[in-house]
Symmetry: C2
Subunit: 477 residues, 2 copies
């Protein structure tokens, strides 16, 4: 089973336990299960053991041991990913290295607007630690209670405030990393400017654990906004949504924080499947926009901007209906509509996820053209389209359960549906993975849509930094 | 002379000319001189020729030719660098590849807040193209009339607005690059979110031309601020400056754009050497702060914030004097004081530049301790300290011309002075090159202050992406 025959499985596990303590090496099937399984239950990988080190030194020791035994390592944070990135999928013998116990907030510095958090801290814990010192850590996504900052960094997570604050990459000032050799690189000084050679952190952010293991990070904090305006706008088309996005950019400038598009299908799914949600408008509309403005300035100022925006909206006749949240509770209701879409979709049955981005101005054409192609090639397929329109990122999901293959024997199968959509994305100059990453699931897309030069450069760097190929094999490349 | 003996120098130059046209391959000494010389005249490198391709295809062809002939390539933009990064310094035979003719703005998209600019566009041209569509490209530095965006990207330039907008890396959404193999990677779609494998642009930004040649970039544009408040504040100490920085952060939040510290010595040098500058305050003060707030909102709002800030300043008794610019002309006067320091210093005689950063909160201690150490070890050395305090970056320069080595034979020599300062920076958890890069000048510092693991990872990636070692040899590593 092991390719280093001088170290038996028993010896290897014994050595792991000597590093972490007996109870932090799980090798019984029932203990491993939750770590080995994709959270939606779509797949289970096979790990020799799940190892839970408690600090960076233990991580380094485990990596050195694995290197010696030629055992692969699948780093895992909250295991909330959507592309099979955090469970074993390759034929090599592998352990799962869970960062769960690396969960300390090492330092919070409100003066410097920085925080040092260990990889296993949940995103919610990081947000809370920032709030505690009257600062904002702006990364926000549906899984924030479970996902970890190490996973967010390794996948360069996006979420709902990218428009204003950027992706996770933009929120990181430095990393502590255990390399594939088991060496520790520590760049945790939190400098805003440092041009001393190649910026190593950039290599590990978004690398999905294939080059090394992020164990801690210096995160950028932002001032806590004093005011939030949250609104739901009903519109007839993505074209109008695009015009509203432009108008909002002009009216609010950098204060425009969130601009989410929600198709009528999504709203219906949520109302049907999620208890406690309610229709905001008297009738169903083709699309809704969840728009949020957050401002450092007092509410009076933001409301004045808002009134101006509203007037311009009316004059341009861009909306069918609209509601500005009058209370935090109402704002939360609006957000619940948006945040429940994935769950509602899951309850409605299996769907094909497409986490795509295109240049913002091309979103209306993309939705129209792709919808028409799909309707022709796969009659009955239902498009469930929503997402972060402000930064060009749509979740262009498709439910094919109503496709009647007896009536339409030529209807595309699921793989071909995804292919059609990703080909469209490519034609529109977009990305087949805007924020979820590649994992094991989109490797074929890498081969199809990346140039040979891009792929060979990625392979060269992977080979240079992980020559033994033990870091999360079978992911990305 | 050439290590590929089958291609003579004459053949090589002939082949270059076939690619670019005769007049764009300069091989006469007098034609090459301006390209071969560091702009302050401190050094001249030796290039076989200066080649000026006009487009990306020509760059790629030149790189393929150099690879075949085993001739090194020193990419050069505006040649305004301060660390000998853009002239030949290594023993290999090299050409200078000037990007000067790659100077088209390919596209400006105000809707998407993006611009595609070729590497040889000056920073000023990029700024102007943004202004033309009522947008801001916020990168700003003293050499903006001459430096190029390709050079800014390759050195991850900083400047005076990093506090609000980040470094050049933060202003780039995608690159077009010619690799060391002469292949073209084009990632110019301007997506805000794209997690399809390793983010290749990050490898080339800040790599100082050692991994490939940036030929074009998608740049992020920002809304044009409607209001600017520019003030000069006189303070007694860096401690008070730090307290003011904190207060400004609280009062202005993200609108705080510039926070520059200027020591009294700098002001004196400027007033003495730069015609048209004048003393703002009736008397000289130990330090001045140039503070700028820029806001998307109307002036009335910003002025209200400013009044509040002023009141708090007074209550805390933090300033000795202060002036808020009453006109654009006055604001320009304040900026001229700041922007003329380097020139004044040059006129005052040779000085040792130290482009350092430390965590912001440690700046007062760094200045005090390092000044005391220097005074003891090198009596007569004059510290000329100024810079971007808001992001922790100081130009802690030293003039040693008044050191009387007959009276103080043990006084440190220039190399030892720089060593002392960089050792201090290291002790304070700082960077020996905050925004200027490494070039040929700070390679020894890399060896001294970077860990062996960091260096070996950088070398591994260099080897992986430029196995023949033809890209800007002798720089960084």
């Amino acid at each position: 089973m092991l390719s280093a025959p001088h170290l038996s499985v028993a010896d290897f596990l014994h050595a792991c336990k000597a590093i972490t303590g007996e109870q932090y090496v799980l090798s019984a099937a029932e203990d491993k299960q939750v770590f080995e399984s994709e959270w939606r239950g779509r797949m289970r990988g096979d790990a020799l053991a799940v190892v839970l080190p408690s600090d960076t030194a233990q991580v380094a020791a485990i990596v050195k041991l694995c290197r010696k035994a030629n055992i692969a390592i699948v780093p895992q944070g909250g295991n909330t990913g959507l592309v099979l990135g955090s469970i074993p999928t390759a034929p090599q013998t592998a352990i799962i290295l869970s960062t769960r116990r690396l969960n300390r907030i090492r330092a919070v510095d409100a003066d410097s607007n920085t925080m040092i958090a260990e990889a296993g801290c949940t995103l919610a814990a990081v947000q809370q630690a920032a709030t505690d010192v009257d600062r904002l850590f702006p990364l926000s996504l549906a899984s924030e209670g479970s996902c970890t900052i190490g996973g967010n960094l390794s996948t360069n997570a996006g979420g709902t405030a990218v428009l204003r604050y950027g992706n996770t990459r933009d929120l990181c000032l430095g990393l502590e990393v255990v390399t594939a050799d088991g060496e520790v690189i520590s760049q945790l000084h939190g400098l805003r400017k440092d041009n001393t050679g190649y910026d190593l952190k950039q290599w590990f952010i978004g690398a999905e654990g294939t080059l090394g293991i992020i164990t801690a990070a210096v995160l950028k904090l932002h001032p806590q906004p004093r005011t939030r305006c949250t609104a739901l706008l009903a519109v007839s088309s993505p074209e109008n949504a695009l015009q509203i996005l432009r108008l909002a950019g002009t009216c609010f400038g950098p204060a425009l924080t969130t601009f989410e598009l929600i198709s009528g299908v999504c709203t219906e799914l949520v109302l049907q499947h999620i208890p406690g949600t309610r229709q905001v408008f008297p009738q169903q509309h083709p699309y809704q926009i969840l728009l949020e403005v957050s401002d450092f300035h007092p509410a009076s100022h933001t409301l004045a901007l808002w009134e101006n925006f509203e007037q311009e909206l009316m004059q341009a006749d861009l909306i069918l209906d609209g509601a500005l949240a009058g209370s935090v509770a109402q704002a939360n209701d609006f957000w619940k509509l948006r945040e429940s879409i994935s769950e509602a979709q899951a309850k409605a049955g299996r769907n094909l996820k497409h986490d795509i981005s295109v240049p913002v101005g091309r979103i209306p054409a993309f939705i129209a053209e792709t919808g028409a192609l799909l309707a022709a090639a796969c009659p009955g397929a239902q498009v469930v389209c929503f997402g972060h329109m402000g930064d060009g990122n749509l979740h262009f999901n498709v439910n094919t359960q109503q496709v009647d293959r007896q009536v339409n024997p030529e209807a595309l199968d699921d793989t071909a549906v995804s292919r059609l959509i990703h080909d469209q994305v490519h034609r529109f100059g977009g990305s087949f993975s805007a924020e979820h990453g590649v994992g094991a699931m989109k490797r074929d897309d890498m081969l199809r849509y990346k140039s040979e030069t891009e792929l060979s450069m990625m392979r060269a760097v992977k080979q240079a930094l992980d020559p033994a190929g033990i870091m999360n094999p079978g992911k990305i490349l």
